[in-house]
């Protein structure tokens, strides 16, 4: 991933800045600039998510792509944020610890790196909140 491509998403990846439509009240993460429900009648503004949420489903990745090969096994989950949107994220916990319905909260973590001398990608992972 190029520096610019990563850099322009820093507000979302570091601080969970999404959007909300003030016309219908729906929240979007990752942010959308166009409301699928209200379409042109929608009015999109930034919204900072608390990041708290609940595990909807999960897996443990044991065969990963090149950038993540050193991290296996790691827990991957779909988390439903309290405001409504669902996201895919890594959970920082033991594989046997994860379960559907588990409450989680966000933590700032290194996600991956482009080799030994390339860009280091940071972002949000989740930890058990209970």
């Amino acid at each position: 991933m190029s520096v610019a491509r990563f850099w322009r998403k820093i507000p979302q990846r570091y601080n969970l800045i999404g959007t909300t439509c003030t016309t219908c009240g729906r929240y979007f993460f990752p942010p959308r600039s166009f409301c699928p429900d209200c379409r042109r009648a929608g009015n999109i503004v930034d919204y900072k998510f608390s990041g708290k949420g609940t595990v909807v489903t999960h897996t443990v990745i044991r065969t990963a792509s090149e950038q993540f090969e050193q991290m296996t096994p790691y827990v991957l989950a779909i988390v439903k944020l309290d405001e409504g949107p669902r996201i895919t994220a890594q959970l920082v916990c033991a594989p046997e610890e994860v379960r559907i319905g588990m409450r989680v909260k966000p933590v700032f973590r290194k996600i991956a790196a482009d080799g030994d001398s390339g860009v280091i990608y940071y972002g949000t992972k989740y930890v058990p909140a209970e």
């Binding site: 489903t57 897996t59 989950a77 895919t88």
Partner: protein, 387 residues
């Protein structure tokens, strides 16, 4: 709109074809299809090719022109178009060819699919396939393709009665069929134990729940139905051609365990053909993972949500069952050269409807269906074929 028929079909063997290049794969499938149709190159009005990622797999773009050239058609200047929708590229290629003939714009059209996946290391191919999902918000955080389908399986198994053994039976059944298909990548039967003792890839999915990395190509020739008998005594009519889309990410779906695009494309196909599930003699579904076949059977309407595991265990989807599923061996055993898969599904149905499927022949098969999925369900193409 004109009625459309398949007048010829061809397919390479599927597997790790170290000695065969991308362009030779395509040429081999194309020649087989044209010979089967009795069509000469100069009669072709158009060429469509499904290909997911030659750019990443062999660092080659501009595939339409490349294959037209190596098929010996460059000097005829026929239009050649690449179609891409990840693993549904082949299904969409077929659909574009159907539309071209149905519209009256083109008469004799080749629909093909090709993928050369083994020229990169397995880590690179896993990463390339992850591009079928959302690179920014799934791939970026470490989601692999098996990982996304594993999350479907986790959700499904928490809500519906599906045992690990029933899930394994999908792979056992498809290997049984693959062992009876001379083009299949894996022609060995396996047991439930083979699946359960294979290594975990993404819990709960194991190696034998996953379709393999495959090289292969397939091609079919289409013509207006009213011209089909100029070329063949056994034209196969295209009764329905539909396509649907959904959110690119799995997490944005209405329901994690239902591919709404499969539901939509399936319903539209039955409406277009004026048929119901009871009329279908066999179906090729997109079993990129065992859980995907379970979902597909249900989403297309062959049974209610939560029943497919039990029906699979009871043999309902086996070769001698009420509704044989994936007689080719499916993606699991026949192999999954992603861009070619949708065309290979049509190839299998054509063989079955002509009574040429050998040891896996379904007696009296007259109507068959194909179901080809891109990503985790963001694109689905469905076709119904009949004789």
């Amino acid at each position: 709109m004109r009625d459309v028929a398949v007048i010829g079909a061809g397919c390479t063997t599927f597997g790790e074809k170290w000695n065969t290049s991308f362009r030779n794969l395509f040429v081999e499938a194309g020649i087989l299809a044209l010979e089967d149709a009795g069509v000469a190159g100069e009669q072709i009005d158009g060429l469509y090719v499904g290909n997911m990622s030659a750019g990443r797999f062999i660092e080659q773009e501009h595939i339409g022109a490349l294959i037209a050239d190596y098929a010996g058609l460059a000097t005829h200047h026929i239009p050649a178009t690449r179609v891409e929708a990840a693993c549904a590229s082949g299904g969409l290629s077929f659909r574009q060819a159907v539309i071209a003939v149905a519209s009256g714009m083109e008469d004799i059209v080749v629909a093909a699919g090709v993928e050369k996946m083994t020229d990169v290391a397995s880590g690179a191919s896993v990463d390339t396939l992850a591009g079928a999902a959302d690179r920014e918000w799934e791939g970026f955080v470490g989601a692999t393709f098996p990982g996304l389908y594993a999350m479907i399986a986790t959700d499904y198994m928490s809500r519906y009665p599906l045992t690990r053994e029933q899930l394994a039976q999908v792979a056992v059944k498809n290997h049984f069929n693959g062992a009876r298909n001379p083009i299949a990548q894996f022609q060995q039967e396996i047991t439930i134990d083979t699946v359960l003792k294979s290594s975990l890839v993404a819990d709960p999915l194991r190696l034998f729940d996953c379709s393999p990395i495959t090289d292969g190509a397939a091609a079919v020739v289409l013509a207006p139905l009213d011209r089909a008998r100029e070329f063949t005594d056994t034209p196969v009519k295209v009764l329905a051609s539909t396509q649907a889309s959904d959110t690119i990410t799995l997490h944005d779906r209405r329901d994690i365990s239902t591919l709404d695009a499969s539901v939509a494309a399936g319903r539209r196909a039955f409406a277009m053909a004026g048929l119901s599930t009871a009329d279908i003699d066999l179906v090729e579904v997109h079993d990129c993972f065992t859980i995907a076949e379970i979902c597909a059977i249900e989403d297309l309407g062959f049974c209610r949500k939560g029943e497919a595991g039990r029906l699979t265990a009871e043999g309902v989807t086996a070769l001698d069952g009420d509704i044989p599923v994936n007689t080719s061996g499916g993606l699991k055993a026949c192999g999954h050269p992603v861009g070619a898969t949708g065309i290979k599904q049509v190839f299998e149905i054509v063989q079955q409807l002509r009574g040429e499927a050998g040891k896996r022949q379904i007696d009296g098969a007259a109507i068959g269906m194909t179901h080809n999925v891109g990503g985790t369900g963001a694109t689905v193409a469905v076709h119904i074929l009949g004789v």
